[in-house]
Every structure is written in structure tokens, then in C-alpha cells.
Symmetry: C2
Subunit: 321 residues, 2 copies
């Protein structure tokens, strides 16, 4: 899969270095079970490059560097390539000084946020990352979407490699997940937004019609999304959700990568937190309580052993590209 992606990206005039990073990350996203940001997203990415939404020739530029902080401009380049660079800078700064903060404005979609959490945890660093997005949720008390679902990544490394990695958008369901449920004519497990009468709904079709997706925790997720956009843009001068939304197509978002490095973490306490959470009696007999990142790792191991399941149609299209 990685070889195919690399071949296509080189055809799109990517440099060897950029093609290698992007091909690896798209393949890893599918390997880890995040198909929506792996194989299934690849053709959209290629199209964005061809349409100039993503400028594959742009190189990120360091605007200012001071101690543990660097501010970068992504120049509307390749989102996942720039984000990988920014995360790596934050890791290196943290390894030197204990902390590293790298911001990245004018970047494009970073695809799977978890990518950068794993990148950091694999190098022994705690990470907190976030990005703003196009508006896709109404604020609490509002009808029209004027907030992004601004994903948050928090990663904590563990000695055994079974890192705790949270990768969470602030909407209860992504529009991708709503769409999947709609196609399968499945109800949502919990309310995912409002119907056209303003009632909480578990019907994906109604939520598509109302465009009123639900933030996690109602007023709480709404407030969290807003403060993230304020923090990112006040700090960097980067584009706000408003500016991104005015463009109609999502591009030029604002991102932050923060790392903490401590040589010896208290690894046994991570184990303690997880095993205590698991000591809760399960709602459904025999079901296991998971920590964030656990399912990713299980899927990774399964897919590495048995191959990555693909949508045949999409895979064949990629082979033809």
C-alpha cells in the first residue's frame, strides 16, 4: 500500500522525501484501522493537490524561534508532512529543554491527529496537539455551525510501547461517521445532533438535514471548541475557523504541537490508572474496558499479521492512478 501511494505521489511531482512521509502515513492510518484517513482518503488528497488546495511544492518556514518555542508557517503546503515536521521539532526541543512548543499556521489538514501522538510517544515524549477546522458544529444556543470540531490529541508514552493516545474531535460524531450510519440506515448509539424541529436525534439523516451536529457535552464541548480556536489564533496570528469557513474549502488551518520530556516517567502509575479503570464491573458481561489507543494497537497488530482490509473498489482505483 505504501509503495502504491509513493508511486502516485511521485507522479504528482512530490519530492522523494515528501512522497515517502505521506505514503507512509496514509498506509499507517489504514494499518491502524483509521481507514477514513488512510486508503479511503487518499484520492481526495491527490485531488486536493491537483486542484491546488494543497501546494505540494511549498516548504514550511520558521517565522520565529526562541528557547523552547518555534512558530512556523505551513504556506498552504502538505498538511501531514508539515505536521510531522512540526511534531518532530517539538520533540527535539523537549529532549533538549524538557518542553517544546511548535505552532504551525497556514497548514492543511493533518489527516489523523493520532499520527502525531504516536510519533511523540514512540520517542518517549508526552504530547498535546490541537488544530482548528472549518465550521461544522453550532455553538451552544445557536443553530448555524460557526465552530470547528477542533480535534485534540493527548499522548503519554509507556515503556512497553502500549502508549495511551487520545485522538478526539469535539463533535460527538464526525460527518463521516454520520454518513456511514446513514448509508447503512443505522441509528446512532447516542444522540449525535438535532433534527429539524430542534430535538435531540439519533437519526443521521435528520442531522444531515439540520446541519446541527452535537458537540460532546453540549455547552461544554461548544466552549472547549471556542477556546481552542481563540488560543490557536491569538497565539499565532493564524487563520480562525471563520476565515477557514469563508474559503468554502478547508485549507490553511492553525495547529499546535506541545511536548513534555522527562527521562524517567512513573510508568507503573499509568498501569495503575488503566487497571483501576478496568476494575469497574462491565455493563455487558465479558466486555473489556479500553484505554485510549488500545483499539488502535490491537487493530495494528491484527492488520500487520493478516493484512489491511480494503474496499476493493477504492483499492483498484488507487492501482489505476
Amino acid at each position: 500500500m505504501e509503495d502504491q501511494f509513493r508511486r502516485i505521489l511521485l507522479k504528482l511531482s512530490f519530492t522523494e522525501g515528501k512522497a515517502a512521509v505521506c505514503a507512509r502515513l496514509f498506509a499507517e492510518n489504514s494499518r491502524d484501522g483509521v481507514y477514513s484517513h488512510g486508503l479511503n482518503r487518499f484520492h481526495v488528497f491527490a485531488q486536493n493537490v491537483q486542484e491546488g488546495i494543497v501546494d505540494a511544492e511549498a516548504e514550511p518556514e520558521c517565522i520565529s524561534a526562541n528557547g523552547s518555542i518555534e512558530h512556523w508557517d505551513g504556506k498552504f503546503g502538505i498538511g501531514m508532512y508539515n505536521a510531522t515536521m512540526a511534531m518532530q521539532k517539538a520533540i527535539e526541543l523537549a529532549k533538549q529543554t524538557g518542553l517544546g512548543l511548535v505552532t504551525l499556521k497556514n497548514n492543511n489538514h493533518w489527516m489523523r491527529g493520532g499520527t502525531y501522538g504516536w510519533q511523540s510517544a514512540n520517542q518517549g515524549c508526552i504530547a498535546i496537539c490541537t488544530t482548528n477546522t472549518i465550521a461544522n458544529m453550532p455553538p451552544w444556543g445557536g443553530i448555524d455551525p460557526t465552530l470547528g470540531n477542533n480535534p485534540i490529541v493527548i499522548a503519554v508514552p509507556r515503556n512497553n510501547g502500549e502508549h495511551v493516545v487520545l485522538d478526539m474531535a469535539i463533535s460527538q460524531y464526525s460527518y463521516g461517521a454520520l454518513y456511514e450510519h446513514k448509508l447503512k440506515e443505522k441509528k446512532l448509539a447516542v444522540p449525535g445532533g438535532y433534527d429539524e424541529d430542534g430535538k435531540l436525534s439519533d437519526d443521521p439523516a435528520s442531522i444531515f438535514r439540520s446541519q446541527r451536529a452535537l458537540p460532546i457535552g453540549f455547552w461544554k464541548g461548544s466552549a472547549l471548541s471556542l477556546v481552542i480556536d481563540v488560543l490557536l489564533c491569538s497565539l499565532t496570528g493564524g487563520r480562525t475557523t471563520k476565515q477557514i469557513t469563508d474559503d468554502a474549502k478547508e485549507r490553511g488551518v492553525t495547529q499546535l504541537f506541545f511536548c513534555i520530556y522527562r527521562k524517567q516517567l512513573y510508568d507503573h502509575l499509568a498501569d495503575e490508572v488503566i487497571s483501576y479503570a478496568r476494575s469497574s464491573r462491565p455493563v455487558k458481561k465479558g466486555e473489556k474496558i479500553n484505554y485510549p489507543g488500545e483499539n488502535t494497537l490491537a487493530t495494528r497488530r491484527r492488520n500487520l499479521a493478516h493484512g489491511i482490509p480494503v474496499n476493493e473498489k477504492i483499492w483498484n482505483e488507487v492501482l489505476q492512478m
Copy 2:
């Protein structure tokens, strides 16, 4: 109110310095409308001091200091006093180096998290703070509470003093809020937990019986709570939610105070985010969409102009103390 609190704390053998900080913060919490952590909490705090849960004589100790990072031990002392000190250290480090990270283990309840967000924003610093707590929410898929509601504070200063300050626990409702609804025999606005049959419920009495309060965003809040406990304790060696819960009375929690300082923030972008959020048509005609911190400031101004409303019984008890 502040004078009364100071008088009582001095009677409890607080030093002048500690009495001044605690009296001011308890009064400010009521002034800002957070009555549950102001006047209405004061007698519990005083009792905790008398019972030795809070050691008023303990002084926090710096365990290690390296560049922008300091690790402190709160020695089971006065939570809000230690937290104020830690936040101030983080602010000072950030003013010197751009970043400041101060951790505080073995601390007691910090009362209102927003206190530290305002403290930082008033000094021109962005802040992110968090703490773990006693277990009070089940993990996703579990019945028994084995996660804390681990509050998160995010503050971004604005030039006009109308700072954006999020102060959010990860449970949809605190047990305090559930109790208030129960007393008034009021249903919750949104589901706040599960009833004894495992069904989502807006009935506070049922949730008290099941002890299954709901994290924001179901599996998402559950994962967020867990990763915060892991981050705090892996980094500091501080007590986990398990250890805090084993003690039965909440004490000796683990906290983190992180500051970012940049001389010139892009203040107009904070305004832009807020006015864009407000451009969403309101669900209820004439109702305003608020940013986090806005209601606090409005209540503060109202209470400063007209006096702080108090529960007469509680106020009279304080006067007798």
C-alpha cells in the same frame, strides 16, 4: 465577606499570608457566582482543616527545577494556597522563557479551577491547568465509578480584560448540580447519567441511586479523563484517582499548571472567533451566544455593583464561627 473569612482562618491558626490568600479566593469565588466553591464551601474547608484532611501548617516544597519546569510537592497542605503559588511560578517562568510548567503533587482540592485561569490571564498569560480527583464517573462500558471528573482550565487573555476562561469538569453535571436539581425536584436539561436499569436519564434521583454519572461525550469524556490521570501521574509520580479514592476522603490530588507567554497576542482574532460564534442564529429568539468566561464576568460586575447574594443561613453560620 473576605474579612469574615480571614478572621475565621486566623482563628484556625492560619498564617497571615495563607489566611489572606484563602479569604480572598473564597470571596472571589462567590463574587464571580461560583457559590458552591465560595461561601457555601467555606465551612467544609474549615472542617477539613480541623479534621487534619488539610494540613494548614504544611508548606509546599520544590522537588526539582530545570529551565521552564518545576515539580512541587503540596505536602497535603492548603489546596488553593498551593495552587495559587504553583500558577504564579508557572506565570513567572513563562514571562522569562515563554513557557512555564509547574506540577504539584500531594495537593488538596483547588476549589474553583477558574481561579487559576483568571490569575494567569490577568497577567497576560495563556494557561492550561488540570487536576485529578476522587473517582466519581464510570469509564465507558463500566458500571462502577473508577474515573475522576478531572477538571480542565484553559484561559486566553484579552487586552480588554474580558478573558476567555474555560473551567470545565469532564462529567456532564457535578454531583453538586445533581443534588441541587434533586432538591428542587427538577429534571436535568440533558441526560446526566444512567438510571438503575442502565438507561440514559435526566432524573437526578435515579443517577444518585445508580452512581453512574455521565462523562461529556460518553466514550470521549471517559477517554479524556483517563488520559489526564495518566499524564499527571506518569509525569509527577503523584497520587492517581485510584489512590485518592482508596483514601475515601479526597485529598492529595495531582495537578498541573502550564503557561504560555507571548508579548503581543493577536487580540483581534479572539474578537473575531467570538463574534463569528455569535453570528449563529439563536435557538431561542433574543438569546445571546456566550463565550466561556463571559457569564462569570457579568456576574462579577453585577455582584460588585449590587453585593453578593448569600444563603442567609450559611452566612449567619459564618458570622458565628
